[in-house]
Symmetry: C2
Subunit: 132 residues, 2 copies
DNA sequence: TCAATACTTGCATTATAGTGCAAGTATGCA
DNA sequence: TGCATACTTGCACTATAATGCAAGTATTGA
């Protein structure tokens, strides 16, 4: 899993609606987050988000850390131009209020944490594991 | 020729090496430029650059203005987040010195202008019009 | 030790994007 | 009026990328 520092790779990583939603959510909240929290915030299937997270990781924008069953993701803030980049992402308009809706659901989802950690799995009926 | 204000379209426009070279060159110099000057600076064929310029235009990053046989292109700087974006592009590393080489050739090419305007057409042997 | 579950990935499909060639348009100058 | 030239674009081809399903891995807790 090599990290490539080519500019076009970074912009390619941001050239997708779903990935921008992820970046923006994590930037605005400053939180790290597991997959199931993102599923409940963005209302997208886990396999889809998992792959987009991988792309962000490979572009060097995300760090992922396993904690038991959960994997926590957080934005990489070094070198400084990455911070500058996230700030720009955050400054972009949100005409359809997609990002603000994601943010709202994320905040609600944070209430289910215990000790700053997720303990519940996917809550959205649509994407719950069959066995659930 | 509609201008779309969706974030992913802007980042998609930046997700290409050639387009980043164009943006960065025009940002660093603050100049507007015609196609043949860009051909001589980036050493890429005119049809290729012409198409990339079109993509930048459609993303709302570039304004193109015809002046006789020449078409001058310049960066769009409003709204403010575009300036912020270009600043970030400019802040990105240039490990292979691609951008600095483009810049060098561009400065040399500027010497051929008369009254701030190009009057000569493509100079690079490789991309000259056959009849030339 | 076995089942539930948080997450990942191989595969097939579809969509999008970059490139080169060659032909096209439009402008200016002889 | 006709040719040179600055630029654009249709077409074919290739490469890359997004998606959904289903199957896989790894961890935890009963």
């Amino acid at each position: 899993m090599q990290i490539i520092i080519q500019a076009e790779v970074i912009f390619q990583a941001l050239a997708d609606k779903t990935r921008l939603r992820i970046i923006r959510l994590m930037r605005v909240t400053g939180e790290e987050s597991c997959l199931c929290e993102l599923v409940d915030s963005l209302l997208e299937p886990p396999y889809k988000l998992s792959r987009h997270l991988k792309i962000l990781r490979q572009a060097g924008l995300l760090l992922s850390q396993k904690e038991g069953r959960w994997v926590y993701h957080r934005l990489v803030s070094e070198p400084a131009y990455l911070e500058q980049l996230y700030a720009t992402v955050q400054a972009l308009p949100d005409p359809n209020e997609i990002y603000s809706k994601d943010l709202h659901r994320f905040h609600q989802r944070l209430c289910l944490r215990e000790g700053r950690r997720c303990r519940v799995g996917i809550q959205s009926e649509m994407f719950k594991t069959e066995a659930g």
